[in-house]
Symmetry: C2
Subunit: 235 residues, 2 copies
């Protein structure tokens, strides 16, 4: 379904120092990125993935851990009835694909053309065996993912408006908190993340615009005009 189109022309990026990207998600996530990807000997091959290119599929061998350098990634599951649930979005600096077991439990795709660094899971695991601090960082990463998953579950029992507002605030926070949010993902992606339909997402955004709470500058550029009101609606 999705054309995989990684090029090998960008591998030279691997020689660049892999510093944490500014404005890139949770603080802990950043620290962990530094721990796992900071040292040259652990950092692996960077690749460019086209829009909608699959990075790995559910059930495949989890031989690598990934870090977003530029672009954005979604992880998801396809339900038996064909619907898709998106579990999380990863922005620059975000690490994904870390598994305790041998297989990926989710699929991952690039949302837009993205540069992704990989590091061999076996290297990470053996490093953790030698170094208790690295082992603790792995635990910490999984604990962060757990926190994210629980927050996500909390979202899914709220009203459509609450879900959309929570999504906007989360994105704003992760995009270094500017009042204007530039979304890399489509309405369908947002809907599949929030457990709604695209129509409901679209209608909710328009309604928020009518109440001067947000402004739809472009379909993927949303200005948060009334933060107090948004925080209230997020409740």
């Amino acid at each position: 379904m999705h054309a995989q189109s990684t090029t090998s022309s960008e591998r030279n990026i691997s020689l660049r120092p892999l510093l944490p990207v500014p404005g890139a998600g949770l603080r802990t996530e950043r620290a962990l990125a530094h721990m796992l990807f900071g040292s040259v000997e652990l950092a692996g091959i960077p690749l460019a993935y086209d829009r909608s290119a699959e990075i790995y599929g559910e059930g495949e061998a989890a031989d690598y851990v990934y870090k977003v350098i530029t672009g954005a990634v979604r992880t998801y599951k396809i339900l038996n009835d064909g619907r898709r649930q998106i579990n999380a979005f990863y922005l620059p600096g975000g690490i994904f694909g870390l598994e305790l077991g041998p297989e990926h439990t989710l699929s991952a795709e690039a949302i837009v053309r993205s540069n992704i660094v990989m590091v061999k899971r076996s290297l990470v695991l053996s490093a953790a065996k030698r170094d208790g601090e690295i082992a603790r960082q792995l635990w910490s990463m999984t604990a962060s993912e757990l926190e994210v998953a629980r927050k996500h579950a909390l979202l899914l029992v709220k009203s459509a408006q609450e879900r959309v507002v929570a999504f906007l605030l989360e994105m704003s926070r992760r995009m270094a908190g500017t009042s204007s949010v530039e979304l890399p993902m489509s309405r369908q992606d947002i809907a599949d993340y929030l457990g709604l339909t695209i129509e409901t997402v679209s209608r909710t955004l328009t309604q928020l615009e009518h109440t001067h709470t947000i402004e739809l500058v472009a379909s993927r550029v949303i200005a948060l005009r009334n933060m107090p009101r948004l925080s209230l609606l997020n409740s």
Copy 2:
């Protein structure tokens, strides 16, 4: 709101060997229970908690890790609008309350009168520092919780019938797979776990009974009469 009523009259249980209880949840969970609670020097004070007694509250210091010996436990959050989301149910053998950080991120209550063993978090953490295998077990426990949380999130985007069926099948599996499930929790608990109202849970159960898929032997005893059909509805 909930009366805490732990008695100190049952502390003598602590001298009993703390073997894993049969028919008690996931296999990995059992192995971990053995790892953390198997050795006498780590096992702490067993306590009896009354029905609805709080074991710990969200935000409290996470000084202990807990294991259910008998009874059942729910972990939950109270939303700002007063609603309650139940994150998980723990049955005998189940371990809960393990945190990476210093505070509990959820609240925990006994569903029925339950015996719970506690072990000091500091002991677990220092053991993990010395022993890489224990460190790995901690990571593994959190990874299991992550899997549970993601499955829970998947549930919350399905129809009411699918949620109730999935709940029944999950409970049946965890109760050693007998065709008759004896639920320790109320309809309100089930509703708060599935993101539904008690009326919808009740109606869905009666509807499943009308189609001879289940039988409501008593309000908390449900016989699964047509497993193939249930599996189908679970899809």
